[in-house]
Amino acid sequence: DAGVTQSPTHLIKTRGQQVTLRCSPKSGHDTVSWYQQALGQGPQFIFQYYEEEERQRGNFPDRFSGHQFPNYSSELNVNALLLGDSALYLCASSVTGGELFFGEGSRLTVL
């Protein structure tokens, strides 16, 4: 049984560019949540998707958007990248309200 998978694992972008990160949830999970973790800090909640809709959102600007597909996989899009967007982006899957399981993360560097 594959766990949560994320791609790409590392990527480098320049300011102003756009990035798309992908996440496949653990088998049987219907909910995907995205987190941003800056160096030395705890994960910060970006948003959560369930039944292809954004169900909850943290304190992130509209430059951060997402999507969930019918197979429950999800994408995180960030537009107009800033240097401060450099971070580890973590995807977690769960059944609604249940235990979170995380992928290995996508490390984004913005130059």
Partner: protein
């Protein structure tokens, strides 16, 4: 939403020592998780513990939901226990700031 506070922020131990990490919540919780973040950044599930006590080898966790705290116990610590430990309230998507544990040989 619920606020999550972890203590201590940093902890340095000699190998073989025991430790207790604490997580406080601003309100009562009905589910809680403990994670260990490995050096590559992945969050490893330790415990999903809404209440009561669970044990897994040298690690155990206790949550007292009505008193709004949870404790993670590490016994006979090993150098491989080093890293950052997080508690989280999944329902609110809230994480604490973490406890950075360093175990010295």
């Amino acid at each position: 939403g619920i606020q999550v506070e972890q203590s201590p922020p940093d902890l340095i131990l000699q190998e073989g020592a025991n430790s207790t990490l604490r997580c406080n919540f601003s309100d009562s919780v009905n589910n809680l998780q403990w994670f260990h973040q490995n050096p590559w950044g992945q969050l490893i599930n330790l415990f999903y513990i809404p209440s009561g006590t669970k044990q897994n080898g040298r690690l155990s966790a206790t949550t007292v939901a009505t008193e709004r705290y949870s404790l993670l116990y590490i016994s006979s610590s090993q150098t491989t226990d080093s890293g950052v430990y997080f508690c989280a309230y999944p329902k609110d998507m809230r994480f604490g700031a973490g406890t950075r544990l360093t175990v010295k040989p």
